[in-house]
């Protein structure tokens, strides 16, 4: 199995069929049928977008406008006020702080996972050392358990290390999974043996080979994985919810829920919705701007 070709059922394959197509034949759509297709797709896009649009609108109007339903469906003029309020004061803690926490966590998880996975995959593929098979299976086992399943004992471990309300507590338990290691292992196995031999003949020691040959050749894989892991890290909810009791350590995704009042008070919807929009922006930018890498990463990481 190679890293890119046999892995995903779909997107790994070139989608060039459309490009090399003959002029529209009998199976192509024209006229009314074509418009219907477009109409249905646009409808689909609108339905999918509606919740985001509504959130955006809500983030630009005043609290009373929302509290008296139905709320408007077109943006109001409170954009700057609401976002400024959210970013600088928020409800419990300024959203800017939560954004920073999310950023540190997402990047920490992505970089951490990539670094430890690159190193261990390199060792497992390019060395024969005592315990290699044992380590291989050890790492393989971690593939199977999402953090959700082992939350209580993991929480106890993190608490025992005094890592509650800390970045390391947010990051470390989530990089203990082997998906990335397997991805890199698969990729390294596709690097021709001769390249390593040529490097040996050229006099490269193992780490030199890693640094000069393996790493540059893995660039695309690393970037694709970074995109996926960034989103994975950014969108974490349960784990930050458990271990950040101090609001100043909240991440934005979990912090939104904390903005809802307990009891019967009316939620500050404009600020909450502005926060929701802010929580979406970084991952959305990453996905849309790096669409190709994102799709590739998605396909690769699904083994």
């Amino acid at each position: 199995m190679t890293a890119t070709h046999d892995i995903g059922p779909g997107p790994a394959q070139p989608s060039g069929r459309r490009a090399a197509e003959p002029p529209p034949g009998m199976v192509e759509r024209r006229g009314a049928s074509l418009w219907l297709t477009h109409a249905l797709l646009i409808l689909g896009v609108l339905v999918v977008f509606f919740p985001i649009w509504l959130a955006f609108v809500a983030s630009t109007v005043t609290q009373p406008e929302i509290a008296r339903p139905p709320m408007p469906l077109w943006p109001g003029d409170r954009f700057f006020e609401n976002y400024r309020e959210a970013l600088l004061s928020g409800v419990n803690v300024p959203v800017a702080t939560m954004l920073l926490n999310s950023l540190v966590m997402a990047i920490g998880i992505a970089v951490g996972k990539i670094v430890i996975s690159l190193l261990s995959a390199f060792a497992i593929v390019y060395f024969r050392f005592p315990g290699r098979t044992f380590f291989f299976w050890t790492i393989f086992l971690t593939l199977m358990l999402p953090v959700e399943v082992r939350i209580v004992p993991t929480y106890e471990v993190v608490a025992g290390f005094g890592m509650l309300n800390s970045y390391s507590g947010l990051i470390f338990p989530l990089i203990a999974s082997a998906t990335a290691t397997f991805l890199f292992r698969q990729f390294f196995l596709t690097i021709p043996d001769e390249l390593a031999e040529a490097a040996r003949v050229d006099g490269a020691k193992p780490m030199r080979f890693f640094w000069d040959i393996v790493l540059p050749m893995s660039r695309t894989n690393i970037a694709a994985l970074f995109v996926i892991l960034f989103i994975y890290g950014w969108n974490q909810y349960l784990w930050p919810l458990l271990i950040t009791t101090d609001p100043s350590m909240n991440t934005i995704v979990m912090g939104i829920k904390q903005m809802f009042p307990s009891g019967d008070d009316i939620a500050e919807w404009p600020v909450i919705m502005a926060t929701s929009i802010l929580a979406m922006i970084p991952p959305v930018i990453v996905v849309v701007s790096m669409q190709k890498l994102f799709i590739r990463g998605l396909v690769d990481s699904e083994k």
Partner: protein
């Protein structure tokens, strides 16, 4: 598969695997072992000592009405999420695949919601259906339907299902679209020459050809519904009303952290572990199929 070339030495490779092995051991194997260990004990009410109860926790679990109900809820929930996220995605992908121009634009537009965290999706949908200010709830009220997911169990389930499926539509769309694009055009043309119309072609030719992708997505979406929807449920219903939306993962959290029932929570973790194992096996068998496909 093995490399022909290997480097010598064993200190360096051990150093290289050390970070991953240490992190896995501390944050993975030790907690997982703890979960299994704790599942065999019941702590006394003051948390001072542990009483060994063997499989008592498990017996208790499977005799517990709420736990069994949670199993049923999880099954229902994941079935609904899988269907609700796959069918519209397939429909949209088929539409986009019919286009010569502009399919890429629709893809870019539809890819978005995948990036939205489940918890944020929960907040967005909660906002639309909020009994006090929700726009959709309000319009439903005008139509004579009194929406109240806080009290109505069916409505609560419906809402968490839709909110969980929403972002997944993007994901499924991507895979379906790519699979459809990879169906050889000549096959479709041959079917057209045989006189099959569009939907006929779709059900007899295209759907069987993309079945590997469909199976793959089935498994992946079930895994998603099981383990990654905690955020949606926690933000919208907190498992209520009357535990109507308490899926297994939510129950581990509720019993372990809110209820502080460590033995039961640990036993539930172990049960989930078995479930994950089964799903993984399913996934791997599927991967094997795909290799031959």
């Amino acid at each position: 598969m093995e490399k022909r070339v290997t480097f010598k030495g064993w200190m360096l490779p051990l150093l290289l695997v050390a970070p991953q092995v240490v992190i896995s051991a501390v944050f993975f194997f030790y907690p997982a072992g703890q979960a299994i260990w704790q599942s065999l004990f019941i702590p006394d009410p003051f948390g001072l000592s542990m009483e060994y109860v063997g499989l008592g926790n498990f017996e208790y679990l499977f005799g517990n009405r709420y736990y069994l109900a949670s199993f049923v809820t999880t099954a229902l929930f994941s079935t609904l999420v899988t269907l609700t996220s796959m069918i519209p995605a397939l429909f949209l992908a088929v539409m986009a695949d019919r286009l010569i121009k502009g399919a890429g634009t629709y893809r870019t537009l539809l890819i978005w919601p995948y990036a939205v965290a489940p918890a944020v999706a929960g907040v967005l949908w909660l906002f639309m259906f909020n009994t006090r200010v929700g726009v959709v709830a309000w319009y439903l009220g005008r139509l004579g339907y009194d929406w109240n997911h806080v009290l109505n169990e069916t409505e609560a389930m419906g809402l968490v299902v839709v909110a969980s499926s929403w972002g997944r539509i993007s994901y499924n769309f991507l895979f379906f679209f790519a699979a459809l694009q990879a169906v050889p055009k000549s096959v479709i043309e041959a079917a057209a020459i045989d006189g099959a119309h569009f939907w006929r072609r779709f059900f007899t030719i295209v759907l069987p050809l993309i079945s590997p992708t469909t199976f793959f997505l089935l498994v992946v979406n079930v895994v998603y519904a099981f383990f990654e929807t905690f955020g949606v449920i926690h933000t919208i219903t907190s498992g209520g009303p009357q535990q109507a939306t308490t899926i297994l993962v939510y129950k581990v959290y509720a019993d372990g952290f809110v209820g502080q029932d460590l033995g039961s929570s640990a036993a539930q973790s172990v049960v989930l572990l078995v479930v994950v194992g089964l799903l993984t096996v399913l996934q791997f068998r599927f991967v094997e199929r795909r290799v031959h496909y």
